[in-house]
């Protein structure tokens, strides 16, 4: 099982296509070494077993990208991504802004469809089915992958209605069944104790952290296999972030979680594997402990301590 996907030395040849003005980018692409020694972050891998055995329970990848590229018109979103995402683990995607992290995440759910002139090539398989196949059932696909956005975006409805939205779409009509799902989901998102008594209250009355957890509960209510999180903590304070990280930990046992984050510490804390994206390309993909302690690529070594990006 190869966690690190060996990249061909393509980067210099692509420089002509991808124009990035910042010198840091060019430094990265050209593999220029910094004079200062890289500042290492001490990462204590939370689960030694993960790094030892590869991955514990599920061996077969749930999401499989093979030479997957996505273009917005003539602009490159992501290019030539080949990576496997394994079930029941947390995969962090890191990288500088505009590098295609979110694009890749949205592709898994085909949320990019909203943007005009989107074009995909290569293969992106979710449980064996090509996401960009013409015959794919979008509703099923999206219910398989629950999405959590950067900013909390609960509907202007009651807390109950927010969580029950997905199940209702799936055709659940019975009130008792809905109540059960709502409670389960809210418990899973560690929100139940806080909102137990005012489920009828508008979701917009909650605090930012609560709203984000509500959004996660909403995503969980459809019983997705994958949980896609697009910088879920970037709009939250450290306390709320801590809460969310805690239950990402809990959710890991039953869900496949892909999380996009700007926060290196967070990636180190929550993820089992990490992928570094840069300018639409996958630079390195390995277990988190290896990525943070002993990266095989120069760019990774430069990026992770925060020397650029």
């Amino acid at each position: 099982m190869a966690f690190v996907i060996e990249r061909e030395k393509k980067i210099p040849t692509q420089k002509a296509n991808v124009k990035m003005p910042t010198s840091a980018m060019q430094a990265l692409q050209n593999g220029i070494t910094r004079k200062t020694a890289p500042r290492r972050i001490d990462v204590q891998p939370r689960k030694e077993t993960v790094t030892k055995t590869g991955l514990s329970s599920c061996e077969c990848p749930l999401i499989k990208a093979e030479n997957f590229s996505l273009y917005y018109g003539s602009t490159v979103g992501v290019k030539d991504i080949t990576m496997d995402i394994y079930p029941c683990s947390v995969t962090a995607i890191i990288g500088p802004s505009g590098c295609g992290k979110s694009t890749f995440l949205c592709s898994i759910n085909r949320m990019n469809d909203l943007i005009p002139h989107v074009r995909a090539s290569g293969k992106l398989l979710v449980s064996g089915q090509d996401v960009y196949d013409k015959q794919v059932n979008l509703v099923n696909l999206r219910q398989q992958g629950g999405m959590v956005f950067q900013k909390p975006n609960p509907f202007p409805k009651s807390i109950f209605d927010n969580v029950a939205y997905g199940p209702r779409l799936q055709g659940v009509r019975k009130q008792s069944k809905l109540e059960q799902i709502v409670e389960e989901s809210l418990r899973a998102a560690v929100l139940w104790n806080e909102v137990e008594n005012d489920l009828k209250k508008s979701a917009l009355a909650l605090s930012g952290g609560q709203q984000q957890r509500l959004c996660i509960a909403r995503a969980l209510a459809t019983k997705p296999r994958v949980l896609l999180m697009d910088e879920p903590c970037s709009a939250l304070d450290p306390l709320a972030t801590g809460k969310i990280e805690d239950f990402i930990e809990q959710l890991k046992s039953s869900y496949t979680i892909v999380i996009v984050t700007h926060n290196m510490q967070q990636a180190a804390r929550v993820s089992d594997r990490a992928a570094l994206f840069c300018l639409g390309e996958l630079i390195e993909y390995d277990s988190t402990s290896k990525m943070f302690s002993n990266p095989s690529k120069k760019q990774t070594e430069d990026y992770i301590p925060g020397r650029f990006g």
Binding site: M111, R142, Q143, Y165, L169, Q170, S202, L204
Partner: protein, 547 residues
């Protein structure tokens, strides 16, 4: 620019803005204040006995026995007025005498026709009575004593004629003798002047075809055909102005040649000094309370009652009903259409040339004068659309409400479009990410979130529709007519009624309180509808915000 200058400018602009806002408020108060005050006068006023009589006879309100007793009491006080006038009339009111003479001539002719006498004899008798009649009329009209005596003598020479004995023609001689007696007592040169004044006094008291009088028709006369002439002054304020007209004669006199005439008020009491009519004025002035029996009345039925033609009496019930029906029906058309159009423009339409043209058209249509929509409604809905669906091609509520809907559609589309556009796209994204279709996302998430903005659009449309006159001018509204039985009938509306009373009717000038009442009712109705919508909007808004 120096800071001091900038501050000065800033203060100047603030002052200017405050001034304009203040002016606007002042104008509003100056217009709305008196209007509302006078409009309230249509509902709260001092109603006279004639008002209660009218309410009973025309609308069936009130207790019959009570009102009859009240009328009887009032009539008892009025009796003296009739007596004074009748006494004065003798010999003065020659018009009445002339009428009598003519009637006798006519009756006599009828009698002869029944008798079936030979034709030659008939002609002879007819020419004789015609001759008598003409002489009598000449006597009545003349101001010369000797001439009158001559004419009367001529008439009386036939008194002993056997052929007139026991026929209607005897009335001629009674008339002649009576006139001979009265003429001996009165001042002939003044008679003509008195006659004119008396006619005026009678008009003011008993009404004319131009306007109803202070007391209404005399009980011994037949009931007038028009409802408005059947009753005296129904309101105390009207009675006061009529009393003023009774006591003071207004004349336009040319004081200096070439200059405009000057209005002079002369007391009728002085004009009739020394005559039998003199006590009348004092009597009416002192006993007006007893004659009219005014009482403070809260006429709440003004908002439900039908009215007599020309809105002379009664309320504005059908107008209010018609306005509400027209407004709500047009809202029924415009709300779904507006929201669907806006949804299409925001969610589905691409930025093509056609869509841009449509957008421009919508913006332009919002500023088109309403009369243009009225003509469109006539040309399209009334003359084309209704016949296509088998309905008669004539104005009706349906056509009117559709015209109003078309009128306000651009406003509705623009407001809804803005509202839908201002819903954060994250809502839609979240819904789509949960697997909802685009339609479902729109209906369950975007639309509820856009509801406050859409309600604002509805409020704007509602106010515009309720107050519009021009679009329903040719398509739905009438000034006089029965209450609509269905949406295929014409209706009366407040806006059209106000317009009609303001421009059309001579009678409406006599009832300004009804004009103001109608306008104030329209303003109040629009305010109420708006208040309802605003209340609804705040509820929705609160629910969305979760407070």
């Amino acid at each position: 620019m120096r800071v001091a200058v900038r501050t000065t400018f800033d203060k100047a602009f603030t002052a200017l803005a405050a001034l304009s806002v203040g002016l606007l408020c002042l104008v509003l108060v100056m217009i709305l204040g008196p209007m509302t005050w006078r409009g309230i006068g249509a509902v709260v006023f001092r109603g006279t006995v004639a008002f209660r009589k009218m309410q009973l006879a025309e609308f069936g309100h009130g207790s019959e026995s009570e009102i009859q007793a009240e009328v009887a009491e009032a009539e008892a006080v009025r009796k003296r007025i009739y007596e004074i006038i009748d006494a004065f009339k003798r010999g003065i009111d020659t018009e009445e005498l002339t009428d009598k003479a003519r009637r006798i001539h006519r009756d006599f002719g009828e009698e002869l026709r029944y008798k079936q006498i030979p034709r030659q004899q008939y002609t002879e008798l007819r020419s004789m009575t015609r001759d008598i009649r003409d002489h009598l009329e000449a006597a009545f009209a003349s101001q010369d004593k000797s001439q009158i005596a001559q004419n009367i003598e001529y008439v009386l020479q036939y008194e002993q004629d056997e052929r007139f004995k026991g026929t209607a023609a005897e009335g001629f001689f009674e008339l002649a003798i009576e006139f001979q007696q009265t003429i001996a007592k009165i001042d002939l040169p003044k008679r003509h002047e008195y006659e004119q004044d008396l006619t005026e006094v009678q008009y003011i008291l008993f009404g004319s075809s131009q306007r109803p009088g202070l007391l209404g028709p005399r009980p011994d006369e037949p009931l007038p055909a028009l409802a408005m002439n059947r009753y005296g002054a129904t309101r105390w304020d009207v009675a006061q102005s009529l009393l003023d007209q009774l006591l003071w004669a207004v004349q336009w006199v040319e004081k200096e040649p070439g200059k405009p005439k000057v209005k002079i008020r002369t007391s009728r009491l002085e004009r009739f000094a020394g005559t039998k009519l003199e006590p009348l004025f004092g009597y009416i002035e002192q006993n007006l309370d007893k004659i009219l029996r005014p009482r403070w009345t809260f006429y709440w039925r003004y908002f439900v009652d039908d009215s007599t033609p020309g809105h002379y009496f009664g309320g504005i019930g059908p107008e209010i009903l018609g306005t509400i029906i027209l407004t709500l029906l047009s809202m029924l058309f415009v709300i779904p259409l507006g929201i669907i159009s806006a949804a299409y423009l925001v969610e589905c339409a691409s930025d093509s040339l056609a869509i841009r043209i449509i957008r421009t058209c919508i913006n332009t249509l919002a500023g088109v004068p309403s009369i243009v929509f009225g003509l469109f409604g006539l040309g399209f809905f009334v003359l084309y659309f209704l016949p296509v669906f088998g309905a008669p091609s004539k104005p009706c509520i349906l056509a009117g409400s559709m015209t109003l809907a078309v009128l306000t559609l651009p406003v509705m589309i623009r407001a809804s479009e803005e509202a839908i556009r201002s819903v954060p796209p994250t809502y839609k994204e979240a819904s789509l990410a949960l697997g909802a279709s685009r339609f479902r996302s729109f209906v369950t998430v975007t639309l509820p979130a856009a509801l406050p903005g859409i309600l604002t659009g509805i409020i704007l449309s509602l106010s515009r529709v309720a107050g519009e006159t021009a679009p329903i001018l040719f398509t739905a509204a009438v000034a006089v007519g029965p209450i609509a039985k269905s949406i295929f009938y014409t209706t009366r509306t407040l806006s059209y009624g106000s317009w009609d009373m303001a421009v059309g009717d001579r009678l409406s000038a006599l009832v300004p309180h009804n004009q103001y009442g109608m306008v104030v009712a329209l303003v109040a109705l629009v305010l109420c509808l708006n208040g309802l919508a605003i209340f609804l909007r705040s509820r929705v808004f609160k629910k969305l915000k979760g407070h």
